[in-house]
Symmetry: D2
Subunit: 390 residues, 4 copies
């Protein structure tokens, strides 16, 4: 095999010229034109910290669903929700659900948890070493907290969970992180804390900054139980009449289907007994500059429904590990910032508002797809709108 030819870089690599040089290189190497990729409307100088080897953009179609009516503690009123997707019916389906929930008086949203973590693992000669260290860590929490927080303005260490197995102590350093999603600040803070710990405490055989207990970009029972990012509930009470008028369905039929899905999901070992929260979350994440790979854990959800005596349908979705930010990451990029601004969610002190809007959107999509399934119109809906698909 010949020496590999690296992707070309330049001393000032975040320019239109550098990007064009890469597109030319790729054309030469692979014979592929990247004309549309090279069509973008912003200055690449803004991109350091967001990408390397910048070559252009993916243009992802963006639609808007709404108005979504939210009765939150941070988001109140109507919102038009930007969704970037190439999946036919997605925007239409969420839009339909928003119509239903608007007629029902809106979606109530509540943030019930907030913690981002880094999860170092410490190894000792034996289990006793791990246990004794755990006690020491409890006793020195204030000092550890001070060291960790010295590295960040936004992060606050809330507590350190301990999970013991063999000669290993797995920990979770839980932080609040302001308006940032916070994976990076918690990484820095925890590393600083761990370096301090390693200096202070004798007998640590080995240390790893991660040991699969924060499960960044993966779905896990621990994050479903103990929260990662925001834990948020969206709920509503919908009269049976509205299901019949708007959704070609009924609350009783919805409820029966829910019971079958609950059992199915329990048996299949799914991380979400609901319908398809990932659809709405992904489309909003792409539109607003979230770290889209966090769909892996953000797609977990708990659905809980009740058929009330008057045939009202109580419906709720709990998202236990929703990773969002309104500051940092991709939120400041050109189209992404515009989309956050459309929601009034760009910048500081907005992340809780944004969280509630995402959760409310998810609820609308759940009821819409759920209705479609029970009405056996699911396939037909796709036929109508999704005609590009084989």
């Amino acid at each position: 095999m010949a020496t590999p030819v690296s992707v070309p870089r330049q001393s000032d690599d975040y320019t239109r010229e550098a990007a064009e040089a890469r597109r030319d290189f790729l054309k030469e190497q692979a014979g592929a034109s990247l004309e549309h990729v090279g069509s973008y409307s912003f200055d690449p100088a803004a991109l350091p910290g967001n990408i390397e080897h910048f070559t252009g953009v993916a243009q992802v179609p963006l639609g808007v669903a709404g108005p979504l009516l939210v009765n939150g503690e941070h988001a109140e009123g109507e919102f038009y929700v930007p969704m970037a997707t190439a999946e036919g019916t997605l925007v239409a389906s969420y839009n339909r659900g928003m119509k239903l929930l608007h007629a029902a008086g809106g979606v109530t949203t509540t943030i019930v948890g907030d913690r981002m973590q880094r999860a170092p693992a410490f190894l000792f000669e034996s289990a006793r070493g791990a246990r004794d260290f755990g006690r020491w860590l409890d006793e020195h929490f204030d000092e550890v907290k001070a060291v960790a927080e010295s590295t960040t303005t936004a992060g606050r260490l809330q507590d350190i969970e301990q999970y013991s197995a063999s000669r290993i102590l797995y920990t979770r350093f839980n932080y609040t992180t302001g308006d940032a999603a916070g994976q990076n600040l918690t990484g820095k803070a925890t590393q600083a804390a761990c370096h301090w710990i390693l200096e202070q405490y004798d007998g640590i055989d080995r240390f790893f900054l991660e040991g699969n207990f924060a499960t960044d970009k993966k779905s896990s029972q621990i994050n479903m139980l103990r929260t990662r990012g925001k834990r948020v509930v969206a709920e509503a009470v919908i009269p049976d009449r509205l299901f019949r008028e708007i959704m070609n369905s009924s609350s009783e039929l919805m409820y029966r289907a829910r019971q079958v899905s609950n059992l199915g999901g329990f048996m299949s070992g799914v991380n979400n007994n609901g319908a398809h929260s990932a659809n709405g979350i992904t489309a909003m994440f792409i539109a607003t500059g979230q770290d889209v790979a966090n769909v892996a854990e953000s797609s977990a959800a708990f659905t809980y429904a009740e058929l009330r005596e008057n045939d009202d349908y109580y419906y709720s979705v709990t998202i236990p590990s929703l990773i969002v930010g309104t500051y940092g990451g991709g939120t400041g990029l050109a189209t992404q910032r515009e989309c956050l601004e459309l929601l009034g969610c760009y910048g500081k002190d907005r992340v809780r508002k944004f969280t509630e809007i995402v959760a409310a959107t998810v609820l609308c999509g759940e009821l819409s797809l759920g209705s479609a399934i029970v009405a056996e119109e699911w396939v037909e809906a796709h036929d109508l709108h999704g005609r590009n698909r084989p």
Copy 2:
């Protein structure tokens, strides 16, 4: 609450004018400019079937990592991999892993399973009804298959799995789907099959097209066990010397960290005992027009490693539910098609090639992040490249 004001639509809704009208409407409603969102390089006439309420685009920064050396059965040789992301260090990290694996002779890839499903649930008066129906279904498989396949040119019904609980029979109709990801064609085919079944078989109390046994856009044990989309293995043997030269690490250190992560992941109930496959998958999915919400299930993975006697490191990733297509969905959109063409993966008879490239890319990213963690340089790497992040 006043009557909600719907997002405006026009009779010919897939035009630049219709999109502009929506942007104007949003500016009026929410005071937000969508100037960059309105900057796109293709004709909206191509969009029906991909989006509703088309308003513009999300411009997602795109970088290229490579060359990736693949020793596949369908992908062979070097590839430059397009990745759309706003996460600093991501492209650099995958690029570094590709360098390592190139030096090691490339990534071997093998598709070991291929099945897309729809999972209807059938209810009966009692468990006996469910069991008896299951037998009937086995006996009439050929007829069911004929009906299902009458609705599709690409789809082939392979088998129908049965999972019994209470008075319900959950089924999985498993198909191969050609070059399409296939969620829609399996939906149509299965619905047709179910309608035929409902006509033929007495005693079905109720029927739902989905009951949380296909778990589309959700992660589940059943899909990790029984495959959804492609089941693909990427593997390589890397000399210890390369870890030391390129990664500031060693095979022995990598292996010890892996053991801790294996136990941590088993205890935490994670769907992926590896590092961060979602990062590479998501970036490639956005770039190439995949259904990005499928990151939910595509992010599941099994990592298995061995430290060989000569200190070589055998490393493998198995992705049990990778949902990809090279035809239909968003694959034909402007930038998305260009990115597929960059890989030589646009259109018919390319999906297996694309599958292998994705898997090989994932392996490179696993070794790169894994090395960074063991070298304790993880945080520093983010500091350097990710400076936009709080």
Copy 3:
């Protein structure tokens, strides 16, 4: 440390004298009297194959609950169910549930699956080797089956499931096993089959008879999905009136509690969303000579309930991995055989009858404890009957 003093054995080790010698030895070594342990009513000559170092017996108190009314396909009519336990309230609670279900017309039971397995894992140089072997295995099923079945009169190899990861092929050799639980016969048959396979097929790098895919004496999602031992459903429809008269409860209250337990169980990652099937199963297993360690997997269950329009309560329990036998193992021991005979379940062609009785018993216990919890009388019930407990 001095040389360890082994437990004494004799040439004819299954005699009262040999047992007494061991009790004497233990008295000398540990100063403990084993007078009651030495009180048993059978001839130790019957024990080879059941225990080594026979020293005496554990005398476990045995009560009887009933009559249990079963409307099964193999068990029909009334049964008095022997339960060996030291847990106060257990027998009373099951007895109360049996009264309820008797009044409701009995428990309907259905065996919906039957497969016992051994799960060898095969390693190859790479994933391709594993995949190719998988195809060969499919093609040679008939030969493998013949070899496997040559070792057993009762066992029949039904199919071989394949689960692929990395360079490993995990398999499940699924058998029916007559009236034996069958772990041993499947072990022998599978080992014979594997030896034949190893002779026939080149390229198997390594082979292990178990790789955590049959999960004997452990609970697993795979066995909950794919059955281990018997998969059996018990179901009943109970009028609301009976809950009020007999259980100090109501169907509506039961149902609401069920919903909360379903969500709780989904979130907590439990292997049984019901109440306490392990109680009844364990007590019956001890009484009837089952392998009690199989409570680990036999305790998994799926509960599914419906509140009908007339306030009837449909309630069902599905036990997906119930390991039982009426022949071999401990079933022929003195008290154990008597208890099986009490149920008309000793010996050949009785295992399905016994399966149904166990399942019906479980259902009664679920409704009884469930009622107690909703009536908030749970603790009081324990106070009354369980006064030996601190």
Copy 4:
């Protein structure tokens, strides 16, 4: 259906006569003799609180394995371990493992966690109600603790965990429980606490004492993560030489098999990546009067092994939810007490010693079966000892 004939009871129901009357009744009803069941050596007057409808006993064969060498913090020295089972090879297999570990210097045991819980669920009108109650509960912990502890001498409320979903707050009231397993005392204490809470706090819509978050007698991820009963680690370092001399195996072969089992277990969704801890636990539970149904959760385990540079094998088992007591329940019964006394574990201040002996026993069994599997002698071992089995 004729009126069901209840099992006869007498005013003084715990006498030999009452038991005999029931045996006579059963003979009449079912034609079954219960002669051996009627053979027991203790006075039934001791049984209230342990069983209802006492009819006799199950005589379970009991063998003894040992000496087991334990280097614990509470158990130190050699023990002969009583095991009640009808499974051939079980005692022999544990005995062989004890020989190996004795030669290796014994088993080191460490209790790393101790908490028994009751898990009430509280419902509110909406998620906000649940969240606000959670805060109140935190603020009033001291009062709740005082009320709870007023009902018990042994129980101490350590903390109350909260898990939020929908309009429900699931809690775990975690206690230490002295020498009792503690399910009953935590039940009583928690119910008292809840009654106090219900009086103090307005707005609780509904309350259930259990909602599948303590998962008594069921296996769950939450208990594997957060401990139920004792969390205990057993570990040892075994020279390769001993595997070769005693086990017909080698540390390297053991380790390779472990890797395959780790991956298999992760993929199959098992609650125990080890071999068969349930076997030893069950046999000891029956012998010593534990609540055997707790095998359901006590059988969960985490195995972690390392092949050291000198070919020593570090091996550990972590049991995260071992439910044991040395006081109350069945521990005071005739044979059960004798078996506890054999271990020096009857009565007060012995539960931690007993915990360590159980864990050490489990480790021996894991290495013994593990060796048998890798030596492919597993089936032969059963053939030799288990000849009663079909």
